[in-house]
């Protein structure tokens, strides 16, 4: 008896542990804050998000907030990341605190994965509808098959006012019904799951009303197992099986007549995303050398800039991995760009006087800010392919913008 008790206790414990482990084993990941842990070269040399605009910083439940802007698929796409032939415009949020109502690339709704072309710039727009009150860090995000998530800048958006319970997500079908997706079919799901659970339990109960383990085991061991199943048992079995088939056939027929028009799930990569027509950059930039000074958290690069355009230009911004280094005497941000990613005076040039058309000049450019460390961009010196990359934004006196790219090796300096 003692042995039996111990065993029972042991196995009860094992069972509970297993059940607990299994039910808590998988919870869909709710966090999106992998932005800093991602390899720096991934963030610098894949997708460049710019001209971002957030329609609101505070919304009430059921209200929309829109994130729009452009992304450039970088020419120097790293070899170790698969090309964006299958990519999905995602949004980085901690679980469905917003729902993604719409998302567009080049004006085309993109509920599925798309093919992007390296070297092209696309316009995008994501419409989110507020669902759960709280402060949420919202990132633009591009998932690339074989490359993982490429995370854009994260901005805090507050959902305040209204209640989660009041969230509605109405949709109208082609057959003319309007329904709320938030609670769609809940009672039907509950009905069928309870129904079949009761049906299954009834089947087991029929058998366990009688002694279950010890007497049956002893009889079976004694070679008299056949006495354990009676003719009535068989009839009940037939009834359960027939009932099962009948219920499935009838309920399937009922579902078919209630929903006569159904379509399969829609899948497959979408092609033909339309990029922005870009004119060729009129400012040519050559990187002579570049170093990252570890103690000063500053990157210094020597650039030879040639202005092939028709108006004089000045360098206003250096952008890399969502971090923006500005020269505030040339250009100021007015979009409410996330502060931790914006160095308003982080860019200094040895000579930033207007560069006349046709003129070539070699300058020292320094981009310094704590963001190098905070966003672990300085880790690039530990990457297997220690290159940096980014965009340079030049402006003429009328505010016209010319974009050039840089992509060059980076040498660390430790003193």
């Amino acid at each position: 008896m003692k042995v039996l008790k111990d065993r029972t206790a042991l196995w009860s414990f094992v069972g509970l542990l297993l059940a607990f482990a299994a039910t808590s084993f998988y919870a869909p990941s709710a966090s999106a804050h992998g932005e800093k842990s991602q390899a720096a070269f991934m963030r610098m040399r894949t997708i460049h998000w710019f001209d971002l605009h957030w329609s609101k910083e505070k919304v009430a439940v059921n209200e929309n907030v829109e994130i729009s802007g452009k992304f450039h698929v970088f020419e120097g796409w790293p070899e170790s990341v698969r090309e964006p032939n299958v990519a999905f415009l995602n949004i980085g949020i901690p679980g469905p605190v917003f729902i993604r109502k719409e998302s567009y690339i080049g004006g085309q709704l993109v509920p599925r994965s798309v093919r992007l072309e390296i070297g092209k710039t696309y316009e995008f727009r994501v419409v989110l509808k507020a669902r759960r009150p709280g402060d949420w860090h919202v990132h633009t995000m591009m998932n690339v098959e074989g490359g993982g998530p490429i995370i854009g800048p994260g901005k805090w958006i507050t959902i305040e006012g209204g209640h989660f319970a009041d969230f509605k997500n109405p949709v109208t079908s082609l057959t003319g019904q309007t329904f709320d997706l938030e609670t769609y079919q809940e009672s039907n799901i509950a009905f069928w799951h309870v129904f079949w659970a009761v049906f299954g339990v009834a089947w087991i109960l029929y058998w366990v009303r009688r002694p279950v383990f010890l007497p049956r085991y002893l009889l079976a061991e004694a070679g008299r197992a056949d006495e354990l199943v009676s003719a009535t048992d068989r009839k009940v079995g037939i009834a359960f099986a027939a009932g099962t088939i009948l219920i499935v056939v009838l309920s399937m027929g009922a579902a078919n007549s209630k929903y006569p028009i159904t379509i399969p799930l829609q899948a497959g990569t979408m092609r033909g995303m339309v990029p922005i027509e870009e004119k060729k950059s009129t400012v040519a930039v050559k990187v002579e050398d570049a170093t990252y000074r570890v103690p000063g958290r500053a990157m210094r690069m020597k650039l030879t800039i040639t202005n092939n355009g028709t108006s004089a230009v000045r360098l206003g911004e250096f952008y890399t991995a969502s971090v923006r280094f500005l020269d505030s005497s040339v250009f100021k941000d007015t979009t409410g760009y996330p502060e931790d990613l914006l160095a308003e005076d982080g860019l200094t040039l040895s000579d930033n006087s207007p560069l006349a058309p046709g003129e070539t000049r070699t300058v020292e450019v320094t981009a310094s800010d704590a963001a190098w460390e905070v966003y672990r961009l300085s880790d690039i010196i530990y990457d297997p392919d220690s290159r940096f990359a980014g965009l340079l934004f030049f402006f003429d006196a009328n505010g016209n913008r010319i974009i050039s790219q840089v992509d060059a090796p980076l040498i660390p300096s430790f003193i």
């Binding site: 059940a19 039910t23 917003f98 729902i99 509920p111 997706l181 299954g200 829609q266």
Partner: protein, 247 residues
């Protein structure tokens, strides 16, 4: 055997002890099955069962019955061989559904706030009842594998259709044709699960056109038969009574 008998001094007491052992045994069996079968299910069918926009006519129909016939096949051996009880498959799937509902309700909905309408589990009780009844009536594992396994695979899709059908209603969504299930998957952002991971409506069954679900179901049924055999032997190995006899 002697240990079991000598534990009780009178017949009435013996019956009482036997009944207590029954209740404890059933509880333990249910919990152990819930835990282990659920882990097995999550590791094998995973997303196909988690999300309604993965429940398609090809892969879901094929994958779920094949990977789920495993535990029922094994537990049927134990319960039928040792105790002549024909509810091995049913107790497995009830345990699995119990575990799944706890997970979906508390983790998916309670913790992460995915609506239940997006992440309810598949229905598998009808197939389990048929599997158990075939074993009861035939008393043969071979017939259970062939007839029961076939029934298990074939009844899966129709058994789920009353719940799934409304998710296949077409919607014109901002100029794109989508099913309700597609929209649910699109609306409720799964940051860690980009759309291209979704394995639905892929495969080489294009030539069957509209009638792809029955073809997938038949394929699944044939595979279920094979897997049943395989796991039958796993069950045989597990249901040895060597340890019980030793005590």
């Amino acid at each position: 055997m002697s240990a079991l008998q000598s534990a009780a001094s009178s017949r009435a007491e013996a019956i009482q002890v036997s009944r207590i052992v029954d209740y404890l045994g059933l509880f333990i069996l249910f919990m152990v099955l819930t835990g282990s079968y659920h882990i097995h299910a999550m590791l094998t069918m995973g997303d196909w069962d988690f999300w309604v926009d993965w429940k398609d006519r090809r892969l879901w129909v094929t994958v779920v019955p094949i990977v789920l016939i495993t535990f029922p096949a094994a537990v049927q051996v134990l319960l039928w061989e040792r105790l002549r009880l024909p509810w091995g498959a049913t107790v497995c799937v009830l345990g699995l559904l119990f575990g799944e509902w706890i997970n979906r309700y508390f983790n998916f909905w309670g913790w992460t706030y995915f609506p239940i309408t997006l992440c309810f589990p598949s229905q598998i009780v009808p197939g389990a009842i048929l599997l158990d009844v075939v074993l009861l009536l035939s008393g043969s594992y071979l017939l259970t594998a062939i007839v029961g396994g076939m029934a298990w695979g074939l009844i899966f899709y129709p058994g789920n259709w009353p719940v799934i059908a409304p998710y296949h209603v077409p919607v014109e969504y901002n100029g794109t044709l989508m099913s309700v299930a597609d929209i649910l998957g699109y609306n409720y952002v799964r940051t860690g699960t980009p759309e291209y991971i979704r394995m639905v409506e892929k495969g080489t069954l294009r030539t069957f056109g509209k009638d792809v679900a029955p073809v997938s179901a038949f394929f699944s049924a044939f595979m279920s038969i094979l897997i049943y055999f395989l796991w039958h032997f796993v069950g045989r190995w597990f249901s040895t009574v060597r340890f019980l006899k030793a005590t």
